[in-house]
Symmetry: C2
Subunit: 524 residues, 2 copies
């Protein structure tokens, strides 16, 4: 028993083996202080999940639903918590603001139908729950009256493989590692690795328009989706499996990003592919982020499609150990299923050199990329330790066209740094590019700061609001791949076209007339 | 005066210089008979546009709209006619079944706002009209009571160029050639060439989810759109310019394919690019379409992205003169902005050889592709001559995953051939692939048959219905890039998920509560 075990079931990223050990946290403290520049505090003492008010709905459930219902307080607490900074600091302190009244776990699609049918009748808000990795308040039943959390965790597995078309049919509750494990014997991969890979689900990816860690092409789940099947209060919404179609607005694109407000995704056909046969990577140094940005723009505008094109500013290069020279770093990677990479990689290096970047290392690589990916998907574990040591660590991201890139980074960095000084006394903001396009890129900001224990949520909310205002003013989107949820609503509402908001509300009212599906997310 | 001049203003593809000359048609007849295998008939005698009932709405228009209104019969007839076979044969015979009551030509966006505002008040159906090249009954006010045709032809031009992000802001009424001419001084191209290029508009492309002639990647206008601006009866719908965004369902993707039912597109930002620096092409022979299909699948599943990957069956290879050996033909082309093509082209040839294809010619090419494109976009002129000579020539297209490709082609060809025999006595059906994807392709069918003068519409409708039923039964989409319009409604209604139909109707009711926008298309 390490002390954190009880609470870890609510807020932890991993399993029993991953529970933080207080002595290890203590030992980690000096390293954290040195690396982040933020003084580590005493490790937060272990806190058990709080008692919750009894379920009001359990007794009213029909027998068929009672079998799949859980009112266990830890279960309910777990379903009130996503994985944002504000979720974690609250849960670590034993604070569960908006627990669901119940957790319902259907074992098949009919169960989902039954839940929605009962919910519409009972007027019960339903919050779909995949892996629970939302960082935007997507799964927290905030402000809802006795909501039920609809956990898709039992709807898992690979249902069908079309080896000819290289497409796979997966149940929505399947988590990333299980999906990959199921595909592996078929020689296929989804090649889709969001940072939440271990804890996010296929259905969640589709519902939130998730993006994987590759920098260009086939990195948005939008482009992997061949068809979607969802249960709505008005019946099953299933699109035809098609490689492309021009028949009206895409039904799939309406569900993509609907965040559980239009229907509960139960299955999807995704495009898969074999593993790459060839890989090449390079690390380059850039004088600064702006110069690196111009180089990266040059690459993608020359028609190159690097699998990895991760530009990090000097601060983040130092923080991650990518480069400790005070320069920005560009990690560039190309992959191919079959064609040789020489032409592209030579051009890429030439364009980077022309743009003033310096090649530190380059060449074919074997599994180096997978090692990096492994570190990438392990980041959530490290973050838990930082939080327990009283370090504010959170990220936010956006996308912007190239013409406004430099100004956006400058404005957002300034506004966020200023807010950190005001709110936390100090703090750092670093920036990297996670995704690049011919017409723009996705800047991703990391914030590190000391916080006052007990005031973490208020402090972060103030910083986040300042950052979001700056993002909006600079013309960026409030989210490139973290979704809207409840946390991004104020900025999302201003960002989206007004008639589109009407259209979306009209669409929702038509399929969910009682408004039971994830109220407060996107709409309502 | 050639005789066809008067009618040509209604149904002709080109300008005054392109009016068919009867003597030339007569001279063309033996060639047509020989090439198509369909005996040419006497050229259809020139027919003047018919008289139309007087406008009912003109007198009721407010003065501001009267300035932009035309009740000229030829103008009204022109706006009742798209460019499908059934449109052309009717118009060539002087038959205008559903003329709009008026044509309204706003000169700016405020004019569009004024039209919609008046229309909502007056309950007047509004049919947006870009270039008028719909082949699915998208612009014909069929079954509508005194509809007005809203012609965007005066809202043209390049408004803004963002050279840094390589994006351009174009007014919706801009036709293909004008858009390219405006971009050329900036060293940019949209690289978007649908067969209707000369007569279709930027706004029409977006409204109908048009596809260009390239076979892979950046060939759907969906992927070129950076933002859209549209006027709806509930205000202006304008999305933020973004290279990517994960904030809720995409507002742009809801307008893409909305075919004028949700709003009138007035402007769009499109992604542009420089002209390719390198081109390579090859012509290969395949024993048959199925073998060619396997080869093509091998290419795209190996990660290759050929700009051109046009596989035509033996019949079409002979018809187009691509190959006269009784084999299927594959025209393969690669393009690059900067990177060398050698690796990809060598792999492509190797994979094709492995699949049993024979290389007839291959190598770098200069403007050969542009010559081909020129022939491609000139096809509508040839088609007019065929129609005037009494030859039924029409196309229809679909998309299907690879696992069902062979069966779909066989079933659709059999059903269509059977219908032609029944309806026309004889006729041929050929097939090509216009677009290819890792998980499937877009088969495109061409029909040639003799028809009875005066019965063309009924004959074609019967054949088209048989073909569409076979497409639907084989799992294809009713359209890959020709849109739904009014002609595809029965199959579209069956194809789309029922709750999606509810959602779309709900969205429309919210932004267009009086239901004035293009009723009968997609909905209603």
């Amino acid at each position: 028993m390490t002390g954190y075990t009880e609470g870890y079931r609510v807020w932890g990223w991993g399993g029993a083996a991953d529970v933080p050990v207080p002595a290890e946290l203590l030992a980690l403290a000096p390293f954290v202080s040195e690396t982040t520049g933020v003084p580590a505090q005493e490790p937060l003492p272990p806190v058990a999940p709080p008692a919750l008010p009894p379920s009001r709905r359990l007794a009213t459930l029909p027998p068929s639903l009672r079998e799949m219902a859980s009112d266990d307080p830890v279960d309910r607490a777990r379903h009130a918590v996503g994985r944002s900074y504000r979720d974690l600091v609250r849960a670590m302190a034993g604070r569960i603001d908006s627990p669901p009244d119940l957790v319902l776990r259907p074992v098949d699609e009919q169960g989902v139908v039954d839940v929605l049918s009962w919910a519409a009748e009972a007027g019960a808000p339903v919050v779909p729950f995949g892996g629970g990795s939302s960082v935007v308040g997507g799964v927290e039943p905030r402000g809802l009256d006795a909501a039920v959390s609809l956990d898709l965790g039992a709807l898992t597995g690979l249902v069908e493989v079309d080896a000819v078309s290289r497409a796979v049919r997966l149940r929505a509750g399947t988590l990333g590692p299980a999906a990959e494990a199921a595909l592996k014997p078929h020689g296929l991969t989804l090649r889709f690795y969001p940072q939440s890979f271990e804890r996010s689900s296929v259905g969640g990816w589709v519902a939130t328009r998730a993006a994987g860690h590759f920098s260009t092409r086939l990195t948005h789940v939008d482009d992997l989706v061949e068809s979607v099947r969802a249960v709505t209060p008005s019946g099953v919404w299933e699109s035809r499996r098609l490689p492309g179609s021009g028949a009206g607005p895409s039904p799939d694109r309406m569900l993509l990003g609907s965040e559980g407000t239009l229907g509960v995704i139960t299955e999807t056909w995704l495009r898969a592919q074999p593993r790459p046969a060839q890989r090449w990577s390079a690390t380059l140094a850039a004088p600064d982020l702006a110069t690196g940005g111009r180089a990266v723009r040059g690459l993608v505008q020359a028609g190159l499609l690097p699998a990895t094109c991760r530009l990090v500013d000097a601060g983040e290069a130092a923080l991650t150990g990518t480069l400790t020279t005070g320069e920005a770093a560009l990690v560039l990677g190309f992959e191919s299923l079959a064609a040789p990479l020489d032409g592209e990689t030579a051009l890429a290096l030439e364009l980077c050199a022309d743009a003033g970047l310096q090649v530190l290392e380059s060449g074919p690589r074997g599994s180096a990329g997978e090692a990096w990916r492994s570190t990438f998907v392990r980041a959530p574990y490290l973050r838990e330790s930082l939080l327990l040591l009283g370090v504010l660590v959170e990220t936010f991201e956006t996308a912007i066209t190239w013409d406004r890139f430099d100004a956006l980074v400058a404005d957002v960095t300034a506004a966020t740094t200023d807010a950190l000084r005001r709110v936390c006394g100090e703090g750092t903001v670093t920036c990297r590019l996670t995704h690049v396009y011919p017409d723009g890129c996705a800047p991703y900001f990391t914030v590190l700061a000391p916080v006052r224990r007990g005031s973490e949520v208020a402090q972060w909310d103030e910083v986040k609001a300042a950052a979001s205002e700056a993002l909006a003013a600079a013309g960026g989107t409030i989210t490139h791949h973290h979704a809207v949820g409840r946390d991004h609503r104020p900025w999302y509402d201003r960002q989206r076209p007004d008639p589109f908001a009407l259209a979306l509300a009209g669409a929702k009212a038509a399929v969910d007339p009682r408004g039971v599906l994830n109220p407060g997310v996107l709409l309502g």
